[in-house]
Point group: C2
Chain length 103, copies 2
DNA sequence: AATATACGTAACCGAATGGTTACATGTCAA
DNA sequence: TTGACATGTAACCATTCGGTTACGTATATT
């Protein structure tokens, strides 16, 4: 699967988006992630595998645990695709200006 | 299907992303769209239905033709989701500044 | 050494996805 | 009004998806 496909389809699932938001705050092991869901741990494992293949998250093994963390750089795939529509960015300029000025 | 899901999964297909890019340049009828693909016209119709349900494109009937056009405002769904990760935007500020200054 | 913990993997299942062909319908053109 | 054209819809099919339960394996703990 090509990069853009893998990223967009990884993001097309609500549970996976939730995992990403969680991992953006702190790295977590599989059980810690699964505790936030009602679905089974193997189901979470599958989602993590998909996220990993899309490179939106990465994994480090530590003893018997696997710690997952968010790879924000991978959002560039989305960001770059969004750029195809220049007018979209024109419309966004004002809010982005505000955002910048607040920093 | 909720808004975010419908938009991200609409974007998860390469053919549909290609349709969006095409429609962002000009509105087109179904046959004109299908001419750019090797898959069948009914397959294109299905993709258009999905894009329409996600509100990424809209349709106007004119005689026996249906003209489809891109609804850029709908990309806000993606944009807004991307905002969950503030640090992502911090990193983007410089390039966006440039972009703004060029306008 | 025995047991508990943290995961992965396999096999399975129903539903959704992306494609096809065949046909129906509404509109334009001769 | 007959025929061509633009498109939708239905039925079908193989594959993928998101979930499950059962089991295997490596690492800690006692």
């Amino acid at each position: 699967m090509n990069n853009t496909n893998s990223v967009f389809s990884a993001l097309a699932d609500e549970n996976r988006r939730k995992i990403i938001v969680m991992l953006s705050r702190e790295r977590m092991n599989v059980n810690a992630i699964a505790d936030n869901f009602t679905i089974s741990r193997p189901a979470i494992s599958k989602h993590l595998r998909i996220l990993e293949n899309s490179k939106l998250v990465k994994q480090v093994k530590k003893g018997r645990e696997r710690f997952f963390s968010f790879n924000p750089g991978r959002l560039d795939v989305v960001f770059n695709w969004l750029k195809f529509y220049d007018k979209f960015w024109d419309k966004k300029l004002n809010s982005l200006k505000k955002f910048i000025e607040e920093k």
